[in-house]
């Protein structure tokens, strides 16, 4: 399970990094989105992978780390998702405006 997640995160990061280094705004935005997916998964995994455990204290369940999953990374990941989603929207607006100005998708506003 952990290995699968690690491979997934690695693939997302690698693809994201490759796309971010492209010269087209569209590819860069796509790359940033993939990077943020990778980061979100990473945060989530940092709370340790656990199956069938609750994050909120439940009566009758022994209060040890073994019986619960860590709620904090889940809260962090929610915040991170919201922020990266909003910023992708902002970036899209800017990219569309840049495209309208220069009729080119190049990040420098036209190939040099």
């Amino acid at each position: 399970m952990a290995a699968l997640l690690a491979i997934g995160i690695g693939l997302l990061t690698a693809t994201g990094a490759y796309l971010v280094l492209r010269a087209r705004a569209f590819a860069v935005i796509l790359g940033l989105t993939l990077l943020s997916y990778a980061v979100n998964l990473f945060i989530f995994v940092m709370g340790r992978v656990a199956i069938d455990r609750v994050p909120i204290v439940r009566p009758g369940l022994e209060t040890t780390v073994q019986s619960y999953s860590d709620p904090l990374p889940q809260a962090l990941v929610l915040t991170a998702i919201v922020i990266s989603f909003a910023l992708t929207a902002v970036l899209l607006v800017i990219a569309v405006r840049a495209h309208a100005q220069s009729r080119s998708d190049h990040v420098d506003g036209g190939a040099p």
């Binding site: 943020s36 990473f42 990374p73 970036l91 100005q101 220069s102 990040v107």
Partner: protein, 527 residues
């Protein structure tokens, strides 16, 4: 009254937040009222910052638990001398920015004031919080506000610069999140005070993870503070912004410097175990040589500048380099120099950006702020004087604040092993600034203007020539400029008490026990 005093640390966040929300609701309906509201909010923030500085100067760290949740489970705000000083710097520059933008920008851009308030809120939050993830959130708040402020700049150029700026900051945010979650995964906490304790005791098998997380944080804060290989976004971004916004952005690089400062002092000191102090040494060396490189690169940019705004952007970069190399040395004396140099350089560069705006105003869009002779600036004695004051301050000449600050910078690095490099870089940077500013000043204010012979201007007589030719100089910008310059003057005049304050602050920082104890009251009781 007592209750208000207790709530004081949260006010620098709450006041701009409420004012910003009100300003959004107000929209463009009444620019006059909006202007007044924005100014009042910033003045109130300034008053709070002043009160917090005075409170912090009595000694001790003022901790504020949000929702009264005990750290490390809840998030706490903390004000020490460093935090108080940064709050002051932000509110001083924000006041000047609001004054400068008030009469020119506000009617055209109704949401400008609201965005400025959100920017101030993000900055203040970043300087107050003790939680790493909360720091990330406040970084995003101030960045989102800065994206919008930047887009209000000079048309085409602003859009293109924003694209680069947003992309590089989003990459920075991704790295920040990686580092934060890695630290949480290994150490199980995000509270800065708690982190500093646990980094020292981390198991040897996890050491590599902690090292990579801390170095990732250095990269992230390096992007914000324009550390050399990461700082190429700065000149382009700042020159695309409108000048009052660029003045506000002069504070933005200082957020990175502030975060690096907090990070370096919370890392285990040399007396901890070998591996832990090796990490601190690596970070210091990176900052030192990165700072030297940034300073020299900034000096080259200063000499290459072809207009006043490029010159000022280059000065922002080289001042960031100076601050970073001081952090790299990291003794109490250099931290004292950081705390003196930082407000000085922020005020002086912000003033220079406002002067650029005024120069563009009097010379028209044709010549703008390019360093070529053109009509408009003759007989602008006041503008010339303001330029001279800011330039003298930036070049580090006596008697203004730059001289005092540079003196402390040089004096504090005297005992460092690399003092030869540091002195050479700092003095070369000053020389470059001096040459470039002298050249800029003589071209802008002394060269006979192209198109008007001396005869002509004599015929007009003082009465006619004094009448504004193009756009009337903005009263707000002049007031803001005067405010910034007089704050710079305060640093020079009150150098002794400020240096004493900075000295106490530096000692407070190099002994993080106080910070840890007041943020984590139960630190001793915990296993």
């Amino acid at each position: 009254m007592n209750w208000v005093l207790q709530q004081l640390p949260i006010l620098p966040i709450v006041i701009p937040l409420c004012a910003g929300a009100l300003l959004v609701l107000l929209g463009g309906r009444s620019p006059r009222l909006a202007n007044l509201l924005a100014f009042a909010a910033l003045a109130a923030t300034f008053a709070c910052a002043l009160a917090l500085v005075l409170r912090a100067d009595e000694g001790g760290v003022l901790a504020y638990r949000l929702g009264n949740w005990a750290p490390p489970y809840g998030i706490a705000l903390a004000v020490d001398r460093l935090g108080g000083l940064m709050l002051m710097v932000v509110s001083v520059v924000a006041l000047a920015c609001q004054l400068a933008a008030g009469d020119r920008e506000m009617p055209r851009r109704p949401l400008f004031a609201a965005l400025l308030q959100f920017q101030v809120m993000g900055l203040n939050g970043a300087f107050l919080t003790t939680d790493l993830f909360n720091l990330f959130v406040f970084f995003e708040v101030l960045l989102i506000a800065s994206y919008a402020l930047l887009l209000q700049g000079n048309g085409r150029e602003a859009v293109r610069a924003s694209l680069h700026y947003v992309v590089i900051n989003l990459i920075g945010s991704a790295l920040f999140l990686l580092a934060v979650s890695l630290l949480y995964g290994v150490l199980g906490t995000l509270n800065l005070a708690d982190l500093s304790q646990r980094i020292a005791q981390v198991a040897a098998s996890d050491r590599a993870l902690v090292t990579s997380a801390v170095l990732l944080l250095v990269v992230v804060f390096g992007i914000k503070s324009a550390l050399l290989p990461l700082g190429f976004w700065l000149p382009r971004t700042y020159r695309a912004a409108s000048m009052p916004v660029a003045a506000m952005f002069a504070v933005m690089t200082k957020v990175g410097v502030y975060s690096l400062l907090r990070l370096t002092v919370l890392l285990p000191a040399a007396d901890a175990s070998d591996d832990a102090s090796a990490l601190a040494m690596t970070v210091r060396q990176l900052l030192l040589w990165g700072g030297v490189a940034t300073l020299l690169f900034g000096a080259l940019l200063v000499l290459a500048a072809r207009d006043l705004r490029a010159l000022t952007c280059a000065l922002v970069a080289s001042s960031a380099g100076t601050l970073l190399l001081l952090l790299g040395v990291g003794t109490p004396a250099t931290l004292q120099a950081v705390l003196l140099y930082l407000p000085h350089t922020t005020f002086a560069t912000a003033a220079m950006f406002l002067i650029t705006g005024l120069v563009v105003g009097v010379r028209g869009a044709e010549a703008a702020d390019q360093l070529i002779a053109s009509a408009g600036t003759e007989r602008r004695a006041l503008l010339g004087t303001a330029f001279a004051a800011a330039a003298v301050s930036l070049a580090g000449l006596p008697p203004l604040s730059g001289f005092v600050a540079k003196l402390f910078v040089l004096d504090s690095t005297r005992d460092a092993g690399e003092w030869g490099w540091i002195w050479a870089a700092v003095l070369a940077g000053s020389l470059a600034a001096l040459v470039a500013l002298a050249r800029a000043g003589s071209v802008l204010f002394w060269k006979p203007a192209a198109g008007t012979t001396p005869d002509e201007s004599r015929h007009h007589g003082p009465g006619v020539a004094a009448a504004p030719s193009s756009a009337p100089a903005s009263i707000g910008t002049i007031t803001g400029l005067a405010w910034l310059l007089s704050c710079g003057l305060v640093i020079a005049v009150a150098a002794t008490p400020i240096a004493r304050f900075a000295d106490h602050a530096a000692r407070e920082l190099t002994d993080p026990r106080l910070y840890v104890e007041s943020v984590l009251p139960a630190a001793e009781a915990r296993p």
